[in-house]
Symmetry: C2
Amino acid sequence: VSGFVSLVGAGPGDPELLTVKAVRRLQEADLVLYDALVAPEAVALALHAQRFSVAKRAGRQSFAQDTIHRLMIRAARQGKRVVRLKGGDPFVFGRGGEEALALASAGVPFEVVPGITSAIAAAALAGVPVTHRGLATGFAVVSGHAEPAYASALDSLAPNSLTVVILMGLGSRRAVARRLLDRGWAAGTPAAIFFGASTPDAASWVGDLGRLGDANLPESNDAPGTIVIGSVVSLSAAIGRGAVPDVAVALAGVAR
Amino acid sequence: VSGFVSLVGAGPGDPELLTVKAVRRLQEADLVLYDALVAPEAVALALHAQRFSVAKRAGRQSFAQDTIHRLMIRAARQGKRVVRLKGGDPFVFGRGGEEALALASAGVPFEVVPGITSAIAAAALAGVPVTHRGLATGFAVVSGHAEPAYASALDSLAPNSLTVVILMGLGSRRAVARRLLDRGWAAGTPAAIFFGASTPDAASWVGDLGRLGDANLPESNDAPGTIVIGSVVSLSAAIGRGAVPDVAVALAGVAR
């Protein structure tokens, strides 16, 4: 009898944006290894599990990736149902691929449970679609975490083409904006930063690429931010006004 | 008292990949307008609702987009809780932006409930991460539905750069492959097509860009397909082998 590992995406923050499958895996788990950006309410669903933070945040590496692999493999070999819970989607800059490889080569059975990624949802929840007829025929998602990686990714996009979404790019927003401007992107290209999407701390900055580098961040900013650059951002005024951020309030007034 | 519209993503097919919020909205709905690619099990969650297919499939346009807007707006004005249920995510090539604009300009309150998009999940469920250290620093998502749109999107990517994901591209796979090859993408670039991701009919073709145009499709193919092009596809052998497609079988042998 062998254990089992589920690499589970926890979505952008709101526990209601967990999938049904993610909730089920958490409820049945014996061990949950979770990241910093996962909501406490999501972790709390694992009523019967040992719950263990393996948080890594900007630079401070609390747990080496190897250690996480070893913890998962050991627990699975002890017959445990392990949930590796990651913010967003496990395969979008989540090192989920590395964890899946480690599990596969250790012969530990596992599965991937996709999650809602902020790459799409952060904008959507503020009324900005990453694609829209006449405005964007596609979108590109890049990590702003490390310079060689984002530089080559940004350089691979023709100026003023696809919607560009940058995850983990708050710290590098000046360098990112400079790089795109230098490559010929128009300074007037609409741009936005969405903070803490789907959480009570949700906030946004809307401007353009020319001003992105100097965008002010919220004061006590522990919330992650998603940068979106492209004409679709111009829809935020028209769509975002209509969208109701707290639907519970809206629904309170709805007759059945 | 006014009604309310939720633009809800139903995910790639497996009803367990609905979000908790999507399930709740369906259970509370008075009217559900759903697309062709939505699983019947998802629609069936709307126990108290009138359920109405507004299916549009490849060319055959059963309902004009305008008609869908009018149906939503009228029902909301009658005080109904309306769920507009779309395959995948409502804002990824789902015309969700157009529907949100129509609702906003009609003054109808609405919200967006993001869904799991096949753009990421189709590959993930087959063991392919769209990003992976050393292999892909980002990914681009393009619709293969209409030629002028996909041509300009593909042309905006530097050859052999980001992972390319093409939705609704089964019919145009020859033209897409030819276009990328002509622009200098290597014929040996790993490529795959994932059919019916997350459903019992899931299947895949794995090869390379040079052979993508001639890839055979499953015989009775009503399932949608997602094309993925890039080095990350090479991970499918190592990761996909370890991943357990039907976790119920795997869990049956797990001791608590």
